[in-house]
C-alpha cells in the first residue's frame, strides 16, 4: 500500500465530479491564503464554478483560519454545508477539523510525523503527504519552507483531484508578472507536490475535477472591491472613513480605483479621501460634503453605524444626501468582528433619535454591490437623504462568482433637485423645505450659488418651509408629514423585489435578501425535489415596494430567511406593512458563518412537515 494512503474506511469513499466541498484549515499569517486562492482560481480556469469563503480570526498571526471552496458544476454559489475533503494544516484545530468531514470524506494532512490511529476516523480516507520533510529537504530558508509548503500541497491536491496543471501554472505566471524570478520556484514547488502524489498515492481520489464550460463570462470578485468601484462609477468624490473590519477593504478599493481612474494628467486628484479620527467625524465630513454638493460616502460596520446615529438623524431631518456602506458583522458591541451577519437591518432602518426612517439597499452579490454602489448616489441626491448599502462580511470580503460589471455610457448622474443661479435669477420661488412637486422632495441650493438669492440656514432644529427657525407645532408636523411623503416617493425609486414562482401553484412563500440568495436558490431546488413548492421573493430595498406586501398577502404562510437572531427584517415588514406576525415564520441562522443551503432546506422542511401532520381521527367517528 502506498505510504500515507490508508483505506480503512468502512463507509464507501465519496465519489463526485465537479461537485464537492474542500476546506483548508490553516494558521493565519502563514501565507496559506494566496496558495488557497491559487487552488480556487485554478478550478475556475477549468470552467467549473466555485464559491470560496474565508473564515478568519480578528488577528494577524498565529490563530486558526479556514478557507472553504465549494466546487459546483451546477453553479450553486452558496455554502452547501459539510466538508468532503479537509486539508488539515493546523494542529490547533485538528480534532474539530477531522470531526467536520462528511462520512466517506477525505482528510489531507502533513504526515511528516506519524499520527496515532486514535487521531483519525475509520469512516474517512486519510491522505498523508510529508510536506514538512519535503520542504526541509528542498529549502534552506525557513520562510521559503513555510511559503512553498503551501504551494506543494496545492500541487499534491492538483494530482489527487485530477486538476489541469496548466491552469494553475498560468495563474502563477500571471500572479508574478513583473517579479519574474519568483515564477520558476513556484512552478517547481507545484510540480514537486504533483510528482510526489502521483508517485506515492492513488490519484485521482473519488472527488475529481473535469474541464467544463460552466463559468462563462462571469467574474470572481469580492463585494467590497465591487462597491468601491461602484462608488467611483457613481461619481463619489469625497470618502471619509475609519478603519473597521469588515469594511476597510471597501474604502481601500475606492482609493485604488480612484487613483487609477481619477488622476488628472497634471497628477492632481479628482477625489478626496480622509481617514478620519473616528466614525463620528467620518459621517460628519460626508454630510458636510453632501451639503456642499459633492457625492460623498463612508464605509463602516455595526459599531460605526451606532456612532453615526446622531449625525444620520441630522442628515435625515436637514435632508442632506449621504451614502453609507454598512458591511455587517456579528454584534452586538464588538461581537464577532470577523464573522458575518445581517444584524444591522433594524438599527440602520431607524437609525437615530426622533422619528427617522432610512433607505436601505440590499445587494445579493458583488455584481449588485457595484450597481447599487453606484445607484445609491443617484438615490441619495434625488431623495436628499442618507442611503445605506447593506453588505455583509460574506459578500464584502469573499470572492464571488457573479455576472460581469456593466455600465451604460449614456447614463448621467442624477443630481436631484438643485436650484441653479440662473433659475434663482429668473425669479423661481425658493423655499428649502417647500414641497413644490407634491413628491415630498424640496429644492436645495448649494452654498455660494447666488449673491442675494437662495441662501438658507441648515439646522437640525425645527424650521418652516422657508428654512426659518420655528418651534411652532404645526410647522414641525407639516415638515414631518412631508418627510413621510418623501419616503413614500422613495418606494418607487428603489430597486423592486424579484419574485420567482414555484413550478406548481404554491400556498407558501419564502422571502430572503442579501447574501442569503445563493444558498436560498439551492435550497429552493432541493425543496422542490422533495415536493415542497415555494414562491420566492428577494427583497432588494427598504422602504418596501407594494409588491412585497402583496406577496405576503397572496400566501397563506411566508418564511423569512435571515442571518440574525431577532428576525430583524421580519420586524420591519410586520411594522411597516401592518402584517399579522403569525403569517411570517422566521428562519434564522446567526452563528457568524454564512448560511448554508442545507440549513435552510432542513428548517423549512421540518416546519412544513409539522404543519401538514393530519391529526388521527378516532375510528368510526363522524367526519
Amino acid at each position: 500500500m502506498p505510504e500515507g494512503l490508508n483505506r480503512a474506511a468502512a463507509v464507501q469513499p465519496l465519489a463526485a465530479v465537479n461537485d464537492f466541498v474542500v476546506k483548508f484549515a490553516n494558521v493565519n499569517g502563514s501565507g496559506s491564503a494566496s496558495a488557497n486562492q491559487l487552488f480556487a482560481k485554478s478550478i475556475l480556469r477549468m470552467g467549473v464554478p466555485i464559491a470560496s469563503r474565508n473564515i478568519f480570526p480578528s488577528n494577524i498571526q498565529g490563530l486558526p483560519t479556514w478557507f472553504e471552496v465549494r466546487v459546483s458544476g451546477a453553479g450553486h454559489l452558496g455554502r452547501r454545508g459539510g466538508v468532503d475533503l479537509m486539508v488539515a494544516m493546523n494542529p490547533q484545530t485538528w480534532d474539530r477539523d477531522v470531526a467536520e468531514v462528511e462520512p466517506g470524506g477525505y482528510l489531507f494532512y502533513d504526515s511528516t510525523r506519524p499520527l496515532p490511529a486514535s487521531r483519525l476516523r475509520s469512516d474517512i480516507t486519510p491522505i498523508g503527504v510529508p510536506l514538512t520533510a519535503m520542504c526541509n529537504e528542498a529549502y534552506q530558508d525557513p520562510r521559503q519552507r513555510q511559503l512553498f509548503k503551501n504551494i506543494i500541497y496545492v500541487g499534491a491536491l492538483s494530482a489527487l483531484l485530477d486538476m489541469d496543471p496548466e491552469a494553475t501554472a498560468q495563474l502563477i505566471r500571471e500572479q508574478f508578472k513583473g517579479k519574474d524570478k519568483l515564477i520558476q520556484p513556484n512552478l517547481d514547488a507545484l510540480q514537486m507536490g504533483r510528482d510526489w502524489a502521483q508517485k506515492n498515492l492513488a490519484c485521482p481520489i473519488g472527488l475529481r475535477l473535469a474541464r467544463a464550460d460552466a463559468v462563462g463570462d462571469r467574474i470572481f470578485v469580492d463585494g467590497n472591491a465591487a462597491a468601491g468601484l461602484g462608488a467611483v462609477y457613481g461619481g463619489a468624490t469625497v470618502c471619509a472613513w475609519y478603519p473597521i473590519t469588515p469594511s476597510t477593504s471597501l474604502a481601500e478599493a475606492f482609493e485604488r480605483r480612484a487613483k487609477q481612474f481619477r488622476t488628472a494628467p497634471d497628477g492632481t486628484k479628482r477625489y478626496a479621501i480622509v481617514q478620519a479620527e473616528d466614525e463620528l467625524a467620518s459621517i460628519g465630513m460626508v454630510i458636510g460634503a453632501g451639503w456642499n454638493g459633492a457625492r460623498a460616502f463612508t464605509a463602516t460596520s455595526g459599531p460605526g453605524i451606532s456612532l453615526m446615529a446622531e449625525f444620520v438623524g441630522l442628515a435625515y431631518f436637514a435632508e442632506i444626501p449621504a451614502v453609507i456602506f454598512d458591511v455587517q458583522r456579528a454584534g452586538p458591541s464588538t461581537g464577532m468582528p470577523t464573522r458575518t451577519q445581517q444584524a444591522d437591518i433594524l438599527s440602520a432602518a431607524y437609525l437615530s433619535h426622533g422619528d427617522t426612517k432610512h433607505v436601505l439597499l440590499l445587494p445579493e452579490d458583488p455584481h449588485e454591490c457595484f450597481t447599487m454602489g453606484a445607484d445609491a448616489f443617484d438615490l441619495a441626491e434625488r431623495l436628499q437623504t442618507p442611503v445605506f448599502v447593506m453588505l455583509d462580511l460574506d459578500i464584502g470580503m469573499n470572492d464571488w462568482l457573479c455576472a460581469p460589471f456593466d455600465w451604460d455610457d449614456t447614463r448621467r448622474m442624477d443630481r436631484g433637485k438643485v436650484m441653479t443661479a440662473e433659475e434663482l435669477e429668473a425669479g423661481k420661488t425658493f423655499g428649502r423645505y417647500l414641497d413644490v412637486d407634491g413628491d415630498g422632495i424640496p429644492y436645495r441650493t448649494w452654498p455660494g450659488t447666488h449673491p442675494t438669492k437662495g441662501s438658507f440656514f441648515t439646522r437640525g432644529t425645527s424650521r418652516d418651509r422657508y428654512a426659518r427657525y420655528t418651534e411652532e407645532g404645526p410647522a414641525y408636523v407639516d415638515n414631518m408629514e412631508r418627510l413621510l411623503r418623501k419616503f413614500d416617493t422613495a418606494k418607487q425609486l428603489v430597486p423592486r423585489p424579484v419574485e420567482t414562482c414555484a413550478k406548481q401553484p404554491a400556498s407558501h412563500g419564502v422571502i430572503f435578501y442579501g447574501s442569503t440568495s445563493a444558498a436560498m436558490r439551492e435550497a429552493l431546488e432541493e425543496l422542490e425535489r422533495d415536493g415542497i413548492h415555494l414562491d420566492a421573493l428577494r427583497i432588494r430595498a427598504f422602504p418596501f415596494h407594494d409588491d412585497v406586501l402583496d406577496f405576503v398577502r397572496r400566501h397563506e404562510r411566508v418564511f423569512l430567511v435571515e442571518q440574525n437572531r431577532d428576525a430583524q427584517l421580519r420586524t420591519l415588514l410586520v411594522t411597516e406593512g401592518e402584517i399579522d406576525p403569525a403569517r411570517i415564520v422566521p428562519v434564522l441562522h446567526y452563528d457568524g458563518t454564512p448560511i448554508t443551503a442545507r440549513f435552510i432546506r432542513t428548517a423549512i422542511a421540518e416546519r412544513v412537515a409539522r404543519d401538514t401532520i393530519v391529526p388521527m381521527t378516532r375510528a368510526g367517528a363522524a367526519e
Partner: protein, 351 residues
Amino acid sequence: MTFLPKPKLHHPLLATNALGLTRRDYEGAISTLCAGCGHDSISAAIVQACFELELPPHRIAKLSGIGCSSKTPTYFLGAAHGFNSVHGRMPSVLTGANLANRDLVYLGVSGDGDSASIGLGQFAHSIRRGVNMTYIVENNGVYGLTKGQFSATSDKGSKAKKGTINTDEPIDLVAMALQLGATFVGRSFSGDKTQLVPLIKAALLHPSAAFIDCISPCVAFNNHEGSTKSFDFVRAHNEAVNRLDVIVGRDRIEAEYEPGTAVDVTQHDGTVLRLRKLHPEHDPTDRVSAMNYLQERKAAGEIVTGLIFLDPDPADLHDHLGTSADPLNAMGDADLCPGAAMLERVNAAYR
C-alpha cells in the same frame, strides 16, 4: 435681546466697499442672545472684517456646532449659507464642505463647551489636518444655553455664579492649537474690537487652519466676581503681544514706527500683516518661542492676546491630498466616470 424686527432700509449715505455693499449687507438676523453678550460683539467684528475685506457674502460658508456661540451664524452674513450642525462636530462638517468646494471661504464658529469638551477631538483633528478655515471659539468658560455649568476652559479655582469652585484643570485651546500645528493662532477679547477685527481679517485671508480663541464674557452666568472670564477680569489681565494691521494690496498704510517695533509679514497672496510689537521678546513666527512665551505669561497670571503664531506660507488639506484645483462638486460625468470600456478591462482582470 430684542423682539423688534430689523428694518430692511439702509441709510443712503452708508459707506460702501469695492463690491458696492454696505456694512448692513454683511449682517444677519437680529440676535436672540442676552443683552450685552460678548458673542454679539464677535458677530459685529465678523461683519466688519468681511465688509472691510470686501468678501462677497455668498462665497462664505458659515458653520457651527451647538450652544450659544453656535447660534450666532444666524446673526451675521445673511446672504451666506449656514449650517448649525451637531454638538462638538462642526469641524468634521466644515472639513467635508471644504473638501467638496475649495473655492469658498469657510468660517467655523464654536464655543468652549462645543470645542473644548464634547468636540475636543474634532477640534484637534481639523487643526492638525490644516483645513483651510477660520475657526473661532467664543470662549466664555461656561455652558450658557443649559444655564451655568462649568466648561472645560473654566479656570481652576474660578467661581460659578452659585458659588461652586471649579477644581478641574482648564484646557488652553491656544496652547493646544500651537502643539497641533495650527499655522495661525490668535487670542482676543470680545471687548477689544480694535484688536479683534484685524485678527479675524488676517485669519480669513490665511490659506490654512486659522484659530482664534476669543474670550467672550457670559453676562448671564459668568461675569461675576471670581470668574476669570468676566469683563473686569479680562480687562485687568489682558496682555496684548501685538497690534495688527491687515494691508491688502492697494490700501497700503504708510506709517512710521520705531525700528524693531513693527514687523511686516507678507503672505502667499501678497497681503501684508503688519505686527506692531508690544512685547519685544515675543516672535510670532517661531512656534517654539511662542509656546514658551504663552506658558511663561500664563504662569504670571496674564492672558496673552494678539497674533500669537503665524506661518506665512502654510499648506492646507487640499495641498496634502493633492486635490484638483477645480472644486470637486463642480465635476461632471466626464471627469468622474471611467466608462464602459474601462469596466471591460476591470472585468477581464477578475476572470
